[in-house]
């Protein structure tokens, strides 16, 4: 019975999956090969909770990956990237909306050749009746949480944990000796 129902749902869901969510999107292009502008209504969810039923409070408080459960078709979209061109994820930006229904605008990455489906870069988010907020909070939150890492340059050049890894294993991660030889070649 369940398998028949699952098949029926799959058949129905297939055309839904092909819906166009680009209408009304004002997402800025990142000139990515497989990007598609996409705006849609969704509920912000803890992905692991959705999959396993293990559901801590507040979507894990920042320690869990967050997803967007799309209202139109129930597809679980992975919120992979925020709006900052600074190697920054989307958890910090979406956590305040845990469990809420929101509208998001951004870029969907759809590249079946490498298995990219429902991968999303969120650029802005709003609740029903609210104003748009840019999904660009990571660096502010990082600065607040790392008061001793003040200085010049972007956050990723100053992050204590990243610096500790590089100090221990080098930029290539292969050890300091290989790093030294490689830098001599690279900057000769």
């Amino acid at each position: 019975m369940i398998s028949r129902l699952a098949t029926a749902i799959a058949l129905i869901a297939a055309p839904l999956a092909a819906q166009d969510f680009s209408e009304g999107s004002e997402a800025r292009s990142w000139n990515l090969y497989a990007e598609v502008p996409a705006t849609f209504e969704a509920r912000v969810v803890d992905v692991m909770c959705e999959l396993t039923g293990d559901c801590p409070e507040n979507c894990g408080g920042g320690e869990r990956q967050l997803g967007l459960l799309r209202a139109a078709d129930g597809v679980l979209v992975m919120a992979t990237k925020n709006n900052q061109p600074a190697f920054t994820g989307a958890v910090v930006d979406l956590l305040p909306y845990c469990g809420l229904s929101v509208t998001v605008d951004g870029l969907m990455i759809d590249d079946p050749e490498i298995g990219a489906r429902n991968i999303y870069l969120v650029q802005r988010v709003k609740t029903d009746g609210g104003d748009w907020s840019k999904a660009s909070q990571f660096t502010k939150v990082w600065a607040r949480e790392n008061p001793n890492a003040k200085g010049k340059g972007p956050w990723f050049r100053r992050d204590p944990r990243i610096l500790a890894e590089i100090e221990k294993h080098g930029y290539l991660g292969l050890g300091l000796e290989i790093d030294r030889e490689f830098k001599e070649y690279l900057f000769e």
């Binding site: 029926a8 990007e35 999959l51 396993t52 990956q65 209202a71 129930g74 298995g115 429902n118 991660g173």
Partner: protein, 148 residues
């Protein structure tokens, strides 16, 4: 009809439906999924291994999902990395960036994405993909130029 379709589709979203995970053991490289999927810095081969290690640290530390890329090209999005550490900017995710590991845990698939909740990293082979030999470093500014 539209309401029926939406209801049926929403049913698939219930956690209870998706809770039938499958225990698996997989071997692959811990990668940065954003650079891999988006192509923002080049093709898939350029954004893995030693060439991309520093960038993988940056992305992992900021909470971008990490993945486990197997030899056949399957990517498992890693949701948890052992009982004591999360996979969203957690310390273990950082120390394993670009490493080839064998991990065991529970596998889930939904809406075109494969997921793994890693219960145990069985073995850590370190960085085995010496991609810097072909690509130098990606992005090219990952290693800061020495000051004169």
């Amino acid at each position: 009809m539209k309401r029926l379709l939406a209801t049926l589709a929403a049913l698939t979203a219930l956690p209870a439906w998706a809770s039938e995970g499958e225990r698996i053991t997989v071997t692959g490289e811990i990668i940065d999924t954003w650079c891999y999927y988006s192509g923002v810095m080049g093709g898939p081969d350029a954004v893995v291994g030693s060439a991309h290690h520093t960038c993988a640290l940056w992305c992992s530390a900021s909470g971008i999902p990490i993945g486990l890329l197997t030899e056949d090209g399957t990517v498992y999005t890693v949701l948890n990395l052992g009982p004591q550490d999360n996979a969203t900017g957690g310390d273990t995710a950082l120390t394993l960036a670009s490493h080839t590991v064998t991990a065991e845990g529970m596998f889930y698939a939904r809406d075109g994405i494969n997921y793994i909740v890693v219960e145990r990293v069985v073995s850590d082979m370190g960085i085995t993909n010496l991609s810097h030999e072909d690509y130098d470093v990606v992005p090219s500014f990952a290693i800061p130029e020495p000051k004169e």
